[in-house]
Amino acid sequence: MAVAAHAGFIGGDTHDHIHPEPQGFIRKYVFSLDAKVIGIQYMVAAFLFFLISGLLAEVVRTQLLVPRGAILSNDTYNGVYSLHGSSMVWMVIIPLMTGAFGNFVMPLQIGARDVAFPWLNLLSFWLFPVSAVILFSSFLIGAPDAGWTEYPPISVQGPAGTSLWCIAIFLIGISSTMTGLNFMVTIVKMRAPGMTFTRMPLFVWASLATALLNMVATAALSAATAALFMERQFNVPFYDPTRGGSPLLWQHMFWFYSHPAVYIMILPGFGIVSEVFPTFARKPIFGYKMIAFSSIAIALLGFMVWAHHMFTSGMAPWLALPFMILTMVIAVPTGIKIFSWLATLWGGKIHFHPAMLFSLGFIATFTFGGITGVFLSSVPFDYDAHGTYFIVAHIHYVLFGGSVFALYSGLYYWWPKITGRMMSNTLGVWHFWLTFLAFNVTFLPMHLLGLWGMPRRVAQYQLHPEFQFWNDVASVGSYVLALSTLILIYNMVQSLLRGRRAPGNPWNARTLEWMTTSPPPYYNFRTIPAVLKNPYNFGEPLPYIGLDEAESAGSTHPPAGSSPLPAHA
């Protein structure tokens, strides 16, 4: 089976043989080696965990309806918010960004038959539900209570489930590292002939930058959680200051991973938006090279800013300054992307498909979150805002308003390709507007609450009953958010049950994944095409030759074979 992957090397050759699809249920749907099936597995599992962690968030918001805490004891509440954060980061957003869309879309976009190492991919995937089950089962023996950051020494003394948290995060870290390696090799080695680096779709550029981060940074997280586990179980004093350890060691190791992880969670989202904008504005992406290179710049700078999470933690005070300046520098490549997307809209013929709406919403909310991010990078202001609800608001603007909006956009965009069915646009538009409004009602007041004096991670605020009004506003917003998710679920179900059959290229898009049937066949492309140009030139013939005409018939553009360009593959 793994041999199928090598077919990518001899792409363009119509005689390369295609391995037959496995027939048994287990080999086809459970332990599949096909990146597309693995991508769907990631998607289904992560969406399930998204619903679970979303429910945990609703529990958090319900608890904070009244100053004394509405429903839970402090201990239970602390476990709930800790699992909400841990699970949303590691079991939802990262697996969806890399595992789901990365696996399904990236090999198709580069014209490969699979990823470079299908067996490794299989292992990466199966570590994910295993670690998620371990993480959630920590509820049974006392959930970890120190937040998704689990700072020692409190996490060393924390409930028994904290050790399960260590195991789960260690395993998902290994899975991430392997996925990073796999994607890196796939993108570097397995692109279709003629697809030079500057002809790659921007989602592939984003996946490349993300793969670099996954490969390099995640090792620090695995090491740190292993050390925490050893300290908890075997009394090895890595983090105990009374026995020569250092609590700051954890913070440095943790953020050396978790800051790049912020970019792992947003760079593929940038890639999704960069695919959706040209397609629905009917325009080339503006500033292709700047968008591509800014992804790499963000990834590299992302390694050098971790201590901006630690300005108040007890570093040498002057050390804060280089971290502040480097963090602010990241605003520049990020700004380049936002301005380039705006310029892509200019002069377009914009179709307001739900995917486009979520990408437009992404620009609004992510820009807001990015700006508060620059605020927080300023050391003196961080002395005030750090550890408050201002941070909670900021992280949700970039992770929900950023990552999740981009994921929704990608879901609407690639759903027909993945399932072969169309979704309802009307429901999608409702889903967008309800989500967008409820999102802002939920998280905008948190900025105010934070500066007003509400710390994060509190089960009660009985010392400050004046915080109740805005907490209640946020809670009501979060309930509407939950309702809006039901619209999405209904839309997906009705699409699967009785949705219109999707053509190969329903949006008249130009990247390679749309040049095959929906859903794509086991082998992706009967013949691997050769790539002649950058994919985003609307109004020109498609830049691919050697595509199987029956397969790419879904496109309303002239069949690839009729390209007037010289065949040189």
Binding site: L342, L345, W346, P455, F538
Partner: protein, 361 residues
């Protein structure tokens, strides 16, 4: 290409300049509101450096708001003006423009300049905070699950849950923790520092407004983290003096002098491992961790004097242990922060003396 060149000569699209002017007017209006908005009424300020941090926040808010309003404004405006209309036909495509290098140059350079300005402004305020003159009142705050402990110089016992400082007096607050991480934050001070076991951090501020303010723990510390708080009282000089002497009367007078002769080197060695070895080795002077190595304290001809300038003697060492030391490389906590009893100090001095004697033989 010819098509894109033709379009570039065209105007920027219907309504571009009116929209730009409208967004600019909105920005000026919002900037004015931000400039005069009374943040200090939402959360009252105690004094320096809270006022400077508010100024920084105002400044960044004006810039951040301007960027956000332009991005959001053009986003909505472009989406409306350049929307696809049924009359365009299903295959209509947009203007095929790939890039405009001059535009991209400027939207790289201008944000870089803006970021540089914010960075310079932040560094200036940060430097002002570091160089605050002070130490008129130096005190300690120690985090416990789940209360704040405050220690004042010359006061034998600690005060819990309320911190009194005199108005118009530069305060140096050394914070640390007795158990897990906590964080000392007063929204009215606009500054915080994590309370880390085994580490002392310093906050400096000058209270200027008499009143009662909140102190809140902002680092998760356990079940009752949500209820870990204290009150900060800024008193008049007279009221503070009265409070201080009332405390002193309650607690009896200052502690007895240290009896150095009673020290046990073995007990001192154990204590050294707990309290000192994070920063000090027992090697020669140059074997530094944070502070110097202490193995040759009394018999190092190259370093006959202590960092305070005194000749190395048991009494001089005990003075440093009692009052702590703040130098360019870091802070050595005083006896309150290290929780050292008189006997502890005597034990440590005995241990350090025994080290120097061992090395001599």
């Amino acid at each position: 290409m010819a098509q894109s060149r033709a379009h570039r000569k065209m105007s920027l699209g219907p309504g571009f300049w009116p929209v730009t002017i409208a967004l600019t007017i909105v920005n000026v209006a919002i900037s004015y509101v931000i400039a005069v908005f009374p943040f200090e009424q939402l959360v009252p300020i105690v004094g320096a450096p809270a006022d400077q941090i508010d100024t920084l926040f105002r400044f960044m808010s004006v810039i951040g708001n301007a960027i956000f309003v332009y991005v959001l404004g053009y986003l909505v405006y472009f989406a409306i003006v350049w929307r696809w209309r049924p009359s365009d036909g299903p295959d209509a495509i947009g203007v095929q423009v790939h890039d405009v290098p001059k535009l991209e140059f400027w939207w790289t350079v201008v944000p870089s300049i803006i970021v540089a300005i914010i960075a310079i402004f932040s560094v200036r305020i940060w430097a002002g905070m570091q160089n605050t003159p002070g130490d008129v009142l130096t005190m300690e705050a120690i985090g416990h699950q789940f209360k704040f402990e405050f220690r004042y110089p010359k006061m034998k016992n600690s005060v819990y849950d309320s911190m009194h400082v005199p108005v118009d007096t530069p305060v140096t607050l050394n914070v640390t923790s007795a158990d897990v991480l906590h964080s000392f934050w007063s929204p009215s001070l606009r500054i915080k520092a994590d309370m880390v076991p085994g580490l002392v951090q310093t906050l400096r501020f000058t209270p200027e407004h008499i009143g009662k303010y909140a102190i809140i723990c902002t680092e998760f510390c356990g079940t009752q983290h949500a209820n870990m708080a204290a009150a900060l009282y800024v008193d008049s000089q007279q009221a503070f003096g009265a409070w201080l002497s009332a405390q002193a009367r309650q607690q009896g007078q200052a502690s007895a002098p240290v009896a150095l002769g009673s020290g046990q080197a073995a007990a001192g060695q154990a204590l050294f491992g707990q309290k000192c070895s994070t920063c000090h080795s027992i090697g020669p002077f140059n074997q530094k961790i944070v502070g110097p190595g202490l193995g040759h304290l009394f018999n190092d001809p190259a370093h006959p004097a202590l960092v305070t300038g005194e000749k190395a003697s048991p009494a001089a060492i005990s003075h440093i242990l009692i009052s702590g030391y703040q130098g360019p490389i870091g802070v050595m906590p005083n006896r309150q922060a290290n929780a050292l009893s008189n006997q502890d100090i005597a034990n440590l001095v005995a241990y350090l003396t025994s080290l120097s004697q061992k090395k001599q033989r």
